[in-house]
Each structure stands twice: as structure tokens, then as C-alpha cells.
Symmetry: C2
Subunit: 209 residues, 2 copies
DNA sequence: CTGAACACGTGATTC
DNA sequence: TGAATCACGTGTTCA
């Protein structure tokens, strides 16, 4: 039982089959995720049927608590009814004129933020959408690791990412010290010159009176 | 020597004094951060002297490797020479008309993304800037924790955040197993219910020998 | 209302 | 080249 996410790693971006890999993890019901932030556990977000072809498995049953704290923001404005914009975007940075850009992008046009001379690279529609998708997947993987890490830490108070990280650091240090102490206690026969030296908390001070 | 970031935690958002707290950490020269991503270590970014009053300690000496992989993006377009916009923004979502909004925001006006009916809350300039600042600080704290965590993990190959997280998980599991094995080997007589709990550093176990 | 935290889309960079 | 990663600013929610 090692690297529980290996199956996710091995399966590349074929499908969204990484959704049901949470079975190998500890059930989230026993997670201590109910204190502060990312624990909202709102019902699966109806992704705004206006556009909503998010390429995101439309019936995703809220994989974990992290999933929808701030559910993904789909453009909610009045599209010309049949536009079927295949492109997600944040609510801002979208003007009515931008839709022209996006529609142009869908045909392979390059996007240059409506102007020129400020950027030195272009990106087509498919590339942009793939970029969004890849980034979303990366974000998700990261969040998953955060959850898995938080399950290992005892006495976890807050569920911040920073706290999870910090407590993991402390826990690792504590475990290392514990291992060191136990190993020293386990082998008292080695004459302290072969010892790998590290910390000398309580190993000697009782030799040869 | 515990929780090396405590001094950062205690010092609230008074100043940007959290910059020079990296002394308490292990020197980054010995960090294994030189393989893939966030290790660029580009020279301290000249933040585009056009605007550049980023409220960010203008002479920041590149605190760590994470700091400037993608150095913060300041608006680089031709401002009307004397605008001194006190507001950072991503390169996109900024049109020439948006500058009017920002200038209005500096006087306490509300920003509604140039239009209406799509957002239900407003935000003044100070609030927006404070939001940006707070988020940046949070991001920085998180990155710092990532660095600190990565220093604890042995044989760390990639320096991804996901890899750091995943290897931390594996390492914690390994350490826990190690502790368990050592404890069993050490004292097979105590039925594991008398064990006090976590670390039992070295207080006794040598008396009446 | 304010501060803290999260997810999101996006530009940039690296290999 | 294309895929992966990162930091950034932003919208949003909650205590």
C-alpha cells in the first residue's frame, strides 16, 4: 500500500476517470474537515445551464470537500442563445467585445488580449482551453494531496492549507526525533563511535562513571 | 527551535517585515531546488518603473527561489505620465477605459467591472488593494511552508508542489511505520495501552539497571 | 463590515 | 513544440 495516487498518476489525461479514485483513499466522512474554510460541502453545483459545457463531467457528485467551496464560475450573461461558448472564463476580464475574440479563437485565431504590442506570444482557442483544463487538473491534484496529507496529521486544529503544511512539518520533525530516540534506545551496545552522531540528546553521560 | 515561522505569524500585517524572516530558515543554498520548476532564481525583478509603487518593499532582494519565477506582473502600458496608479492588476482585464475606473476607485468609488448586473457587491480601491496584498501574503506564506517541507524530505527528486506534498505523505507514513516497528521491538512487554502516547524522548528507562 | 481563505482563469517560463 | 508548472489578481464565501 504505497502511493495511493499512483493510479491517478499513471492514467494520463484520457478521461476524467480520476474522479472515482477516491475509493482508495480514506473515506472523507472521517476527515476532520468541518471547522473553517474549505469544508462547505455545498450540494453539487448546478453549473449555470446557460453555457455549462465545462468539459468537466457534468454530473460530478462533489468528489470531496475541497471541490466546491467556491464553485467554478461560469459566465452567466446572456449569450445569443446558441453560442455554446466552449470556453470558461472568470467573471471579470470579459466584456461584450471579448466574446468576439473568443468566437474568433474558436476558429483558430490568436488571442492577444484585444490589443497588441504588449504580449509576445499568441494562443489559439484549443490551446487556451487546454491550458485552463490542465491548470484545473493540477489544482485538483494539489488539493487532493492536501486532503490526504491532512488525514495523516494528528490533532489537526485548523484546516488551512498553511496549517496543514505547517503541522506536517512539525509532525515530520517529531517523528524523526522519535525514530532517532528509539533507534538509540534499541541499540545500546554499539560503542557510540559508530553512532551516526546526529543529536546527542540523552545517549551518553553515563559511561565510565 | 520549533515552528520557525512563529515570528511571522505573530507579526501581523504591520509592515512588510516578513521579508527578512528568512534568516531563521535553513539557507537556501543547500536546498535541492535546482531541478525543474520554481528554481529560476532570476535577478531581482525590476518592477517596471512605469508604475512600480507596489507597496512591496521596492528593494526586495529575492527572498527565495519561489519568489520570482513569474515575477509579479505590473501594468506596462503607457500611462499618462504621472498617473501613479496605486493598484496592481493582471495584464489582462485592463482596457484603456478601465483606467478610468481605477482612478475613480482611488477616490472611494465602487468598482463593478465596468458594467452592472453581473456582480452583486462592490469594493473600493483600498479594499481591493488590501485584498491583493493579503492574498499575496497568504501565497507567500504557503510557498514558504512548501520550501520548508521540501527540506525535510529525503531523496526528493522533483520539486513540484504536488511532488513535495506526495513525498511528504509517503515520508510520514514511512516514519510512522518505522516508529511502530521500533516501539514493538523495543518494549514488547508493555501491552501498548500503557504507552503514554507520542514522543517519550528519553526521560527514564535507565533506572534500576 | 472586515479579514481570511479558497478556486479560478490567465500570462509566463521551462524543458 | 507542447505539456507542465508557477505566481498573480480577482470573485466569492464565511466567521
Amino acid at each position: 500500500m504505497d502511493t495511493w495516487w499512483s493510479e491517478m498518476e499513471t492514467s494520463s489525461m484520457n478521461d476524467h476517470n480520476f474522479v472515482n479514485q477516491s475509493e482508495t483513499m480514506t473515506p472523507f466522512n472521517e476527515l476532520p474537515f468541518n471547522s473553517k474554510p474549505f469544508s462547505t460541502f455545498s450540494p453539487p453545483p448546478p453549473p449555470s445551464s446557460v453555457i455549462s459545457n465545462y468539459s468537466y463531467s457534468n454530473s460530478m457528485p462533489a468528489k470531496n470537500q475541497f471541490e466546491n467551496l467556491n464553485t467554478f464560475k461560469v459566465v452567466k450573461r446572456e449569450v445569443p442563445s446558441g453560442t455554446t461558448i466552449n470556453f470558461s472564463s472568470s467573471v471579470n476580464s470579459m466584456d461584450d467585445s471579448d466574446f468576439g475574440d473568443i468566437e474568433a479563437m474558436r476558429f483558430g485565431a490568436a488571442v492577444t488580449t484585444t490589443t497588441d504590442q504588449k504580449k509576445s506570444y499568441n494562443r489559439t482557442s484549443v490551446q487556451a482551453q487546454d491550458h485552463v483544463l490542465a491548470e484545473r487538473k493540477r489544482r485538483e491534484r494539489l488539493t487532493q494531496r492536501f486532503i490526504a496529507l491532512s488525514t495523516l496529521i494528528p490533532n489537526l486544529k485548523k484546516l488551512d492549507k498553511a496549517t496543514v503544511l505547517g503541522d506536517a512539518i512539525q509532525y515530520i520533525k517529531q517523528l524523526e526525533e522519535q525514530v532517532k530516540t528509539l533507534e538509540e534506545k534499541n541499540k545500546p551496545e554499539i560503542p557510540a563511535a559508530k553512532r551516526p552522531r546526529l543529536v546527542s540528546s540523552c545517549d551518553d553521560s553515563s559511561s565510565s562513571g
